[in-house]
Symmetry: C2
Subunit: 215 residues, 2 copies
Amino acid sequence: MRTVDYYFDFSSTNSYFSTFMLPELCRRNGAVVRWLPLHLAALFRGTGFDVMAMTPRKAHYLWRDHARYAEATGLPFRRPRRFPMKTAMALRAVLAAAHAPAAQGANPGGLCSEAAGRLTQAVFRAYWERDEDIADRAVLARSIAASGLAPDAILAASDSQAIRDELAAIVEQAIKRGVFGAPIFFVGDEMFWGKDRLDFVERWLQRTPPDLGDN
Amino acid sequence: MRTVDYYFDFSSTNSYFSTFMLPELCRRNGAVVRWLPLHLAALFRGTGFDVMAMTPRKAHYLWRDHARYAEATGLPFRRPRRFPMKTAMALRAVLAAAHAPAAQGANPGGLCSEAAGRLTQAVFRAYWERDEDIADRAVLARSIAASGLAPDAILAASDSQAIRDELAAIVEQAIKRGVFGAPIFFVGDEMFWGKDRLDFVERWLQRTPPDLGDN
């Protein structure tokens, strides 16, 4: 089955939108999402800070743009009070979900599992729809439970050294692939940045033979 | 007739693309482009620098993205050797073209005239398709001639104080409207940034009654 490698961080507004748009895009093209939690703070330490320069007039525009985009997509986006947000624990929880027993048996499992996708979407909803503090352990536990996973087991696994190492390894691999922000998508070796390139992701999936996209 | 106010600078890669996409979009929605040459260097002096932070890895990606975008649109975009480019003289020539006799009688005239549009497209072609030095007076004269205008008369008018003042006034008005870069489009009071929002420009035209978009 073809995969789209999807690098996201919960701190990325544009990742909120693509998290809900990408799975449907993959479904209609016979592909699956490979959920790759990307710790942007760590990435920027390794590559240099690369977000957009932000004067108040541009920030003002961007919130208006997000509101219009939410209206166009029907997604219940809401500007959160807390920003920036510490996301490392929530990102590790996604990795723990990928290894959880509930994710086993799913085809494909691991980072392509439905459990990883469900928890990713649940955390984005908590932060970007309900304005919750996803750096708070109790808040995160609710998102885990909402995804059909066991909060205590997932949180315990999230704290393990193995999962911490896995999160760091994703950043390292991302740097080697040329990643500089989020959301970023790969179809094979072709990289796409931003929700505004989802149409290109779809076009590339359609022109790429299934075996080239395999992982 | 409804208008879309279009702020562009020849130094903006993304303005190259929108310069050729916007007129067709307007045509199919019964609107006209109001060509507003925006001197970005002057705008940034007034508002603070607001372009994207650019590490080598992001720059590398963006050129690849532009190449894909050119392929998708069929536009013969080519990465120029000269960058950045001094654009003030070419921007003033567009204003002179809007006042030229050839632009009179066109409906509507002035900044909405076909002459202003033709010269804008000709200069973008020279820089972003043929890698020409558009800060060179002889090169600019060729673009003016290609637009069906008289190079000597347009260049003389471009040097006048009246046209210099008009270019400065456009920046001042842009700052008051919240503009922070290019390309930027207005449908009535609604502002859109970037070629990736042309679909929103079209949606807004379709939901805006003609009188609201009038100028």
